[in-house]
Subunit: 288 residues, 4 copies
C-alpha cells in the first residue's frame, strides 16, 4: 500500500519504520525536516508537505495535540481534500475529532480515528494496541496497515470520536491506578512496609496486569526522569477527558483528583517529570 | 496438626473443611452453634468454647470485625493464654492487631496475623492468597496449615499488623479500581460506547488482571445483588484504612472518595448492596 | 460623559438605565435589537453596531461569555480601534482578558477590566461592587461612570486581567460556601435538625455575611427555579477558574469538587437550575 | 446559683472566672490541681473530685475530648448520679453524647449539651455563643449561667446531641471556608494579586463575616504559630463529624477534603500548627 506518515516523533518514527519494513511504499513528512532523514535512508520517500504525504492510499497523522493536527489538516498544503484516506492516530479531543470527521465527510474523504496504547518501545516492536473507529469499509481497508504495527486492533464502531473517547478513558484509568498505588505505598511505607513488598502482593494477587507491574516499578524506584510520557502531556489528556465529561454531563471526581495531582507534580517538580511522578506530591503531602 | 477453627462464616467454614480434607485434626467453634454441624459430620470435633478450640497446636480465627475477635480472644473462655498459637485471619484494624500482638506476647503465646485475599469460592477451592506476618518461627510452623488452604503465601515480616495493613491497602485498591471503572464506563456510555466494549479494551490491553475482569463484569451487568461482599463491610474496611492513615499522618484523598461513595451507595441502595455497587451513585450523579 | 453600552441583558440594561438617570449621554446596542427599545424610550440613543456605540468617551461591554465579547470587539463593526475607552464588565477568562488588553494596547485604545459582583436587583439599585484593573489614568477617567452604578469600587492594579481573576475567585468562593452549607444541612437534617435552625446558628455566629444569608435561605427553601444565575453559567465560570489554575499550576481540589457538583446538578436537574442547586445532588447522594 | 466547674483549660478557666464575677457560688476541679489555684484566690472553692464539684445545682464540664469527659463522668468519684444537673460544654461525638444522655436519664439526673463557639478571648469577655439542647425545663434552669458567660444562646430542642451535631457542623464550616480562602489566595498570588487585596474584596463584598476577617487575616499573615486551636484538635473534630456522617449515611466530600488537609498539615508542619495552617499544604502543592 502507498502510505503517508505525517509526524515523526518517537511514536510516528517507529510506526513509519515498521511500515517500511513490512514492504509498504512510505512517504514521510515532519515539521522539522531532519527527523525524516533516517527514514529516507531506510527506504521511505521524504516529502515537502502534508498534502504530498497524502498523495497516497492512506495518510497517518501522529502528532502531539489538537493544534498540531489542525495545522497539518486544515493548514496550507494540508491533508484535507487529498485523495488519501486519513487515519488519525494522535490523542485528541472529542469535539475536535468530531470536527475532523465532519470536515472530511464534506470533502468526500475517508476518515478513521485510530489512537494507540503503547510506549515507544512497543511501537518499535510493532506491538501497539490500536483503537479504531469509523466507516466499516474504511476500517477494512486500513487492516494491513494496522497488522504491520500492532499486536491487536479493537473495533469501536462507526463514529470516529468513539475511539478517541476510549483512548482518553484508558489514560484516565492509568492515572487512577497510579494514584491508588501511590497512596497505598505511602501508607505502607509509613507503616514500615517496603513499597516493593506491597507491589509484590498486589501484582501477585488481584492486580497482575502490565500497568501495575510497569508503573508500580516506577513508583518503587522513584524513577520519573527522564519522562517516558511527560506530565504536561498527561495533563493535556486529563483536560481533554474533562472536557468530554463536562460536555456529556458526567461528574468524574477521580478524574478531577488525578488532574489536580498532575498540576501539583508539574508545579513542584517541573515540566520534565514523568506523569507517573504524581506519586511525588502524594508522598510529600504525607511529610516524606 | 491439631487445629482449632473459631468463626464459621462462609470463609471460615470453607477453610475448616479444607483442613479436615487435608488430614488435620480439626476442632470447630461458632457463636451460633448449628453452623458447626456440617463440619462435625465431615469429621471435625465440635467444641463448646473458643478456649476448647484453642486446646490445639494452632487456633485460627476468621470473624467479621474487631469486636467479634475481641470477644473470642479476651472474653470469657477466650483464646488468650491457651496453649495454641493464634493465627488471626480476620480483616481487622492496625491498632487492634497491635493490641492482640502485645497481649499474646505478654502471655507467652505465639501470634500471627494472616488475613487473606479471595472470595468464598476461592476459599472452597483452597485457592486463597495468605498475607502472613509475625515471628519467623511461628510462620514456619504455620506453613502446612496455609498449604492446605491457599495457592500462595506472602511473608511480610515480623510485625503481625503489617499483614493487616497490606490487606487494607489491597481492599482500598479494589475500591479505587472500581471507582475508576465506574467513572470511565459512565463517560463511555453517555458517549455512545457500550460498557462491555470499554471493558474489553481495558482488559485486553493494560488492565488484564483478575480484578478488572471480575469487577468489571459486575459493572457491565449491573449485578450487585446478592452481595458477594456487602457495602457496609467494605465501608468498615475503608474506615480501618482511614484510621491507619490518620494515625500514620498520610492524607489519602482517593480513599476518602471511595469511602464517601460507599456511604452514598448504602444511603441510596440499602445495606444489602455489594461493595462494587458504588457504580450506582456514580451513574446516578450523571443522570443515568 | 458620552457612554456606549453594548449588551443589554438583565445586568447591562440595569446599568445603562442608571447611567441615563445619572445624566450621561448614553448610546445602546444589543444583538437582538428590541431589547434596546425601552432604553431608547428612557432617553438613550439606540445605535446599529458596537462601533457606533463606541463613538463615545467610554464603551461598556456586559455580555455572557468570551465568545460574545470576541464578537463585539474583533468582529465586523466592532469596538476595537474606536475612540472610546473600552471598559469590559463581563466575567471572562484570564487568557482572553490578556488578549483583549494586548489588542487594545496595539491600537492605542484604553482598556479596563471591570467585572462586578451583584445580582440584577443590585444592578437596578446601583449597588454593584466593581472590581477594576488597568492603567491608573484610565481608572481615574472611568470613576464617574462607576459612581453611577455601584456602591463601591475595588482598585486592583495596572493589569486588567487581575480584576477578572479576582472575580473568578469570588464566584469560586460562593460555590465553595454553598457546597459547605449543603453538606452541613444534609447532615443536620438526617440528624433531626431543621435546615433553618442550622442556618440561624451559622449566620448568628461566625457566618453573618450576605452570602450565607441569601444562599442559605435558598437552600433552606429548596428554591432553585427560576434561576437567578443558571448552573451552566456557573459551570462556565468554574471552568474559567480551572483554566486559570491550570495555567498558573495551582491544584484546587475544592474548585474541582464544586465543578463536578455543577455538572451533576445540570445532569440530574436540567440546564435551567440555579447554580445554588448544587445542594440537590448533595442531598440526593445521601438518599434524601 | 451553686455551680461546679470541671476542666480548667483556657476555656474552662475563663468561664469559671466569669461565673465567680457574676456572683455565683463556684466549685472548681481540674485533673492537674495547680490550675485551680488562681480561681481559688478569686473566690471559688477548690474541690478534690468531680463528684464534689457536682455537689451543686449545676456542674459544667469543659474538657478536651470524649475520653476526658468519660473519665470525669463515669470514673471513680465521677459526676454521674450526683445531684447537680450536668451541662456538658465540650466538643464531643454524637454517639458519646447520646450515651451520656441515656446514662443520666437512667439515674434521674438532668443533662444538657451546651457546646460553645468562641476562642479563649471571647470566653474571657463573656462573649461566647452557646448551643443548647436538652429538656426544656433544664434549659430554663441553666439560663442565668449562660447569661453570665455568653452573648447569645441558641436553643436546639430536646435532644442533647443535636447541639453537638450543630457544633461539629460549625467547625466543619470553618475549615471549609479556610480551604476555600487558601485555594483562592494561592491562585491570586500566583496570578500576581496580593492575598490582602483579595481578602479586602471578599470581606468588602459578599463575605463580610467574622470568620473571613479573622481567619483570612491569619492566612494573609501566614500566622499559624502559636496555635489558637491546634490542628490535631481540629482533626479530632473532623473525625467526629465524619463518624456522625457515616452513621447517618451522608457522604460529605468537602469534609473529607479538609480532613485530609489537616492530616497533611500535621504531617508536614508538626502537631503544634494552628488548624488554619491547612493553608500551608495548599500553597506547597502549588510549588510556593
Amino acid at each position: 500500500m502507498k502510505i503517508g506518515c505525517v509526524g515523526l516523533g518517537q511514536m510516528g518514527r517507529a510506526i513509519a519504520g515498521n511500515l517500511v519494513r513490512a514492504g509498504h511504499e512510505v512517504r514521510v513528512w515532519n515539521r522539522t525536516a531532519p527527523r525524516a532523514e533516517p527514514l529516507g535512508a531506510a527506504g521511505a520517500t521524504v516529502v515537502a508537505s502534508p498534502s504530498e504525504a497524502a498523495d497516497a492510499d492512506v495518510v497517518l497523522t501522529m502528532l502531539a495535540d489538537d493544534a498540531a493536527v489542525e495545522g497539518v489538516v486544515f493548514g496550507e498544503r494540508g491533508i484535507l481534500g487529498c485523495r488519501a484516506m486519513h487515519v488519525s492516530m494522535s490523542t485528541i479531543g472529542i469535539a475536535f475529532a468530531d470536527r475532523l470527521d465532519a470536515a472530511h465527510a464534506e470533502r468526500g474523504q475517508a476518515f478513521l480515528s485510530a489512537p494507540v496504547f503503547g510506549r515507544p518501545a512497543a511501537a518499535e516492536a510493532a506491538q501497539l494496541f490500536v483503537l479504531c473507529a469509523g466507516a466499516e469499509e474504511a476500517r477494512r481497508r486500513a487492516g494491513p496497515l494496522f497488522t504491520a504495527i500492532s499486536q491487536r486492533v479493537f473495533e469501536l464502531g462507526e463514529k470516529p470520536s468513539a475511539a478517541n473517547l476510549v483512548k482518553l478513558c484508558g489514560n484516565f484509568m492509568i492515572m487512577a491506578a497510579t494514584e491508588a498505588m501511590a497512596e497505598a505505598m505511602t501508607l505502607a511505607e509509613k507503616g514500615g512496609i517496603a513499597r516493593a513488598a506491597l507491589l509484590e502482593v498486589l501484582t501477585g494477587t488481584l492486580f497482575g496486569a502490565p500497568l501495575y507491574k510497569t508503573y508500580g516499578q516506577l513508583l518503587v524506584d522513584d524513577r520519573f526522569r527522564p519522562a517516558g510520557f511527560a506530565a504536561p502531556l498527561g495533563l493535556k489528556d486529563m483536560k481533554l477527558a474533562a472536557a468530554a465529561a463536562d460536555a456529556a454531563r458526567v461528574p468524574m471526581p477521580l478524574l478531577s483528583l488525578v488532574r489536580d495531582r498532575l498540576v501539583s507534580a508539574i508545579a513542584t517538580e517541573g515540566e520534565e517529570i514523568d506523569w507517573a511522578g504524581i506519586a511525588l506530591p502524594v508522598r510529600r503531602a504525607a511529610g516524606l
